[in-house]
């Protein structure tokens, strides 16, 4: 990856509705799971989205933001998001602005220049707490792995992880 080992760049890109959003704004003080993906056409991405949809149903009550990022334009991402029934933010890097900054250019696709599949678990300050290389499908984290990462991160973030006594 082309960024430092500790801090993810604060990307600023259009979301699926066309509004410009920053990653730090989207974290909004909570842990953030960021997924990069090749595009809606990839069967591996289609399969992995079913895991993320299961994860969404837990994240919605667990104070965790989710972001998916690809080179598709906002209108394509909006249609994908609606079709999936996803309720998290999709970011569009149609200009390939961050592909090389992040070191995530899929060099084997010289036609479409998509993102390599990857998943990052970020703290609210965008510190990287876990990084998964999803080039091969089994490199992607399952829901239980994300849960373990987020348990460790949330335990650090929340001073009342141990419930108040008495």
């Amino acid at each position: 990856m082309g960024f430092g080992p500790d801090r993810f760049p604060d990307l600023v890109l259009p979301d699926h509705a066309g509004g410009r959003r920053s990653l730090s704004e989207l974290a909004a003080g909570d842990p953030l799971v960021l997924q990069t993906f090749r595009g809606p056409w990839c069967p591996k991405e289609q399969a992995y989205f079913t895991s993320l949809l299961r994860f969404q149903d837990e994240a919605e009550v667990a104070y965790t933001s989710m972001v998916s990022l690809s080179v598709d334009p906002p209108e394509v991402l909006s249609a994908l998001r609606a079709g999936l029934e996803a309720r998290w933010t999709f970011l569009s890097d149609a200009g390939r602005e961050y592909l090389d900054v992040l070191g995530l250019r899929e060099t084997t696709d010289t036609v479409n220049h998509p993102y390599q599949p990857a998943v990052f678990v970020l703290a609210p300050d965008l510190t990287v707490r876990a990084a998964y290389n999803g080039y091969w499908y089994w490199g992607r984290p399952g829901v239980d792995e994300l849960r373990a990462d987020l348990r460790a991160l949330t335990r650090e973030l929340r001073p009342d992880w141990e419930p108040p006594r008495g």
């Binding site: 509705a17 909570d30 969404q56 667990a62 998001r81 996803a86 309720r87």
Partner: protein, 166 residues
């Protein structure tokens, strides 16, 4: 001044309010930034929605019947929050309204521009109680970036969703 925003439907601008704007059909939507409830019918809203430089807009206001408060975590209210997050064309403002830490006391949705009226006819909170759609004058309501998703929980039971953070 305080950290809490209170909104109420009034016959006219109230003395001591922070901002107010006329509603089509008569009356005013009035806002107060203060800790204590200013008038009996005032409900707490996400303070980010208040903008004294905000443009005129269309609003959908959903209020419960006098004897009909539902729990904030009623599955119907949860599903309305999910529908807000799933919306491919996010509103300029969405805030739930609160009277206490347990109950859902309504919602305010603000839209501007082409298609605003049609989109407000499908206000997710309008599936719980009837929505009143009105034009509201300038000087009260701004624009807030849509929530990142998929969190539907409040950041503390006294905080109107989707505002607040830990």
């Amino acid at each position: 001044m305080g950290d809490r925003l209170w909104l109420a439907l009034m016959d006219s601008r109230a003395s001591g309010c922070t901002a107010a704007a006329a509603l089509s059909g008569g009356g005013c939507l009035v806002g107060w930034l203060q800790d204590d409830q200013p008038v009996r019918q005032a409900r707490r809203a996400d303070p980010r929605v208040l903008d004294v430089a905000g443009a005129a807009a269309l609003v959908s206001l959903v209020l419960p019947p006098e004897d009909g408060l539902w729990l904030f975590d009623d599955p119907a209210v949860q599903q309305a929050r999910r529908a807000v997050l799933a919306d491919a064309r996010p509103a300029d403002v969405v805030t739930t309204l609160l009277l206490d830490a347990s109950h859902f006391a309504g919602a305010l949705t603000v839209r501007r521009g082409e298609g605003a009226a049609a989109l407000l006819r499908d206000d997710p909170f309008g599936r719980i109680w009837p929505a009143r759609v009105r034009e509201v004058g300038p000087g009260l309501l701004g624009t807030v970036a849509p929530p990142p998703g998929p969190t539907i929980e409040r950041h503390g039971s006294a905080v109107p969703w989707p505002g607040g953070r830990f």
